[in-house]
């Protein structure tokens, strides 16, 4: 049952189309990530849902009611801004209480709900502090508390981790996921970070140039990218242009295996680096290791082959047998590759 629906949402600025025909429905309690490179229209889409940007066309339905023309201060959605936009002249508790005050909640009830929400985000000891006395992670939690305290039907997050350093970001992602599960609130998050989208989202909406490229669960989308953009934006991919002639894909002079049901004709052939193995016999391709890079939990190899440079990754389970300059064979199983019709 769709809780939040976007129907044919369009935003044009003069000749430029920021968002084209956005069609999306979100179920209650679902966590959806709008993912894409900068300028892909994901933030504009969020701004339209929030009500700050009027759409050029299309409707937004919340729980069956059309809210397209409802002012932002009447929509009652919880929003966490990229800069957090905390009120610098108010304490943490006053920041969180602001939304309740605007709703005319009585003082006693208000302070109880503020205390409960601060408890929820583990900020109780900091209630009397001012935003500038907090760390980045704490500010983000204040912003979450301020948005959640009004018990909004939908929570909108605009790059909420953008201002945090990498280590803290990972911690906050896990915390945010746990919080979202506990509260059970329908959430839409905008991010350009594919790892973040995969960590958090029930479903990822991949956008590019104002259009939705693909919608799917993170694992599905990673395993079955529907095109060139999806495969390269979400994770790493080796991508070749080839021709599927039934049985195998012909790329240059190489015959590469492909999964059953792949479309015939011109295709983009995609294989993820971690699916490629070094093989001494039955190699699909032969090449020379141009670079070997240690990345902590895995090794990355750049292998020069007649088809171009391939990326290969291997889990770090000790020093690899393959070194720079080695001649190697590469192999992978057909079901681990993907072939999609060109131009998709």
């Amino acid at each position: 049952m769709a809780f939040l629906e976007l129907h044919g949402l369009v935003k044009r600025y003069g000749d430029f189309t920021a968002v084209a025909d956005c069609e999306l429905s979100v179920s209650q309690g679902e966590f959806v990530c709008l993912l894409g490179p900068s300028g892909c229209g994901k933030t504009t889409t969020l701004q339209m849902v929030a009500g700050f940007t009027p759409p050029s066309a299309g409707r937004i339905l919340l729980d069956g009611k059309d809210i397209t023309d409802v002012k932002p201060n009447q929509r009652g959605l919880g929003i966490v801004f990229q800069s957090y936009a905390l009120f610098p002249h108010m304490t943490v508790a006053d920041n969180v209480a602001f939304g309740l005050e605007m709703r005319g909640v009585a003082a006693a009830e208000r302070s109880k709900r503020v205390a409960d929400t601060l408890e929820l985000v583990h900020l109780t000891p900091l209630a009397g502090r001012y935003p500038r006395e907090l760390s980045g992670g704490q500010r983000q939690r204040v912003a979450m508390a301020r948005a959640l305290v009004i018990q909004p039907p939908v929570l909108l997050l605009d790059e909420p981790m953008g201002a945090l350093d990498a280590k803290l970001r990972e911690e906050m992602q896990i915390e945010l996921r746990a919080l979202q599960h506990r509260v059970g609130i329908t959430t839409i998050m905008v991010t350009h970070d594919q790892a973040e989208a995969m960590t958090l989202a029930d479903r990822v909406v991949l956008m590019n140039k104002g259009r939705i490229e693909q919608i799917g669960r993170p694992f599905e989308m990673y395993e079955q990218p529907n095109g060139r953009f999806s495969s390269t934006f979400l994770g790493k991919a080796n991508l070749f242009e080839g021709r599927h002639e039934g049985g195998a894909v012909l790329v240059g002079s190489a015959q590469l295996p492909c999964p059953a049901g792949a479309p015939l004709g011109l295709v983009d052939y995609i294989v993820r680096p971690e699916k490629v193995n070094f093989a001494s016999t039955d190699a699909l391709l032969r090449g020379r290791v141009a670079a070997r890079v240690f990345l902590g939990n895995y090794w990355l190899f750049q292998v020069d082959t007649p088809l171009g440079t391939l990326q290969v990754t291997q889990a770090n389970v000790g020093m690899p047998a393959v070194a720079e300059g080695d001649e190697v064979g590469l192999a992978w199983a057909g079901e681990h590759a993907r072939a999609v019709a060109r131009g998709a």
Binding site: F87, P88, A147
Partner: protein
């Protein structure tokens, strides 16, 4: 081992420091010392040190009225500049860049015109035979001209006109530092525009209001040309009184003493205001 001190910054600031000393500090010291000489009607400045000039100012009702008028006027002008300048700066910050450039010129306009020309312009508007009275009478709204020249109101209007730009510029600078998303955030939490402006935007521009207020207050309290032309001899303020003591009564020591008291009161009020505001809203002053 000690790092050799880099003296270049000190050398570079020496010319400016000397200029300040010669053109600001020295005249102030001279004025202060002049105020401590007795006044001798036959020769002007007499011999020996005395506090008689200050005693005169402290005792004489005449001076009390003038000081009260001056600072009442300066406070009123400051308050009006806040009321007009803050919304004006906010509107300016919301305009597209082209309109903003045009509006900036309009806002700064009063500062581009000589004080005498501008003030005489107000005299033309405000006089009994002036443009405003003539038009109101022609429209039949009034039968007798409304007295605006040589009134407190007239002086306040003319001062606000020229001092508002200082407030606008100071608040404008403060507004640049306000995260516009805080307004969106307040709106998303259910606040209407009046609430956003009073509870979210205004508190964040307090530093600008304070610095603008200090400039406006000091300039209004020490303004000379506008009160002299619009207020005239009947509506004396401290600066015009100082002028009269020096050049009319030739009582230089008393004039100097008035100047010293004016400087001290302006400083005291400004520092007090600064202190109070910075304490009251200390969170918005980083």
């Amino acid at each position: 081992m000690q790092e050799p001190r880099n003296l270049l910054p000190y050398w570079l600031s020496t010319p400016a420091a000397l200029a300040m000393l010669a053109f600001v500090a020295l005249p102030l010291v001279l004025t202060l010392s002049l105020s401590l000489y007795p006044f001798v009607p036959s020769t002007g400045v007499g011999e020996g040190l005395t506090a008689a000039n200050y005693a005169d100012i402290a005792k004489d009702e005449y001076f009390h009225t003038i000081f009260a008028r001056t600072f009442g006027m300066a406070l009123l002008v400051t308050a009006l500049c806040v009321l007009i300048g803050v919304p004006e700066a906010y509107v300016l910050s919301r305009l597209s860049s082209r309109w903003r450039a045009v509006s900036m010129v309009v806002v700064l306009g009063p500062l581009l015109i000589s004080v005498v020309v501008r003030t005489l312009g107000w005299a033309v508007l405000l006089g009994n035979e002036g443009v405003i009275n003539k038009s109101l009478m022609a429209l039949g709204l009034i039968t007798e001209p409304i007295k605006m020249m040589f009134t407190f109101t007239g002086v306040v209007v003319a001062l606000v006109h020229v001092l508002v730009p200082f407030m606008v510029l100071a608040v404008w600078a403060s507004l640049q530092k306000v995260d516009p998303a805080t307004e969106d955030a307040a709106e998303s939490l259910g606040a209407g525009l009046p609430t956003v402006l009073t509870r979210i935007v205004f508190p964040q521009v307090i530093p600008g209001v304070l610095s603008g207020g200090l400039i406006v207050f000091a300039l209004a309290a020490s303004a000379f040309a506008t009160p002299a032309i619009i207020g005239g001899r009947r509506l004396k303020v401290v600066p015009t009184t100082i002028y009269d003591e020096f050049l009319g009564n030739l009582n230089w020591p008393l004039g100097a003493a008035l100047a010293v008291v004016l400087v001290i009161v302006v400083l005291a009020v400004s520092l007090g205001m600064n202190r109070f505001v910075e304490r009251r809203w200390k969170q918005v002053f980083q």
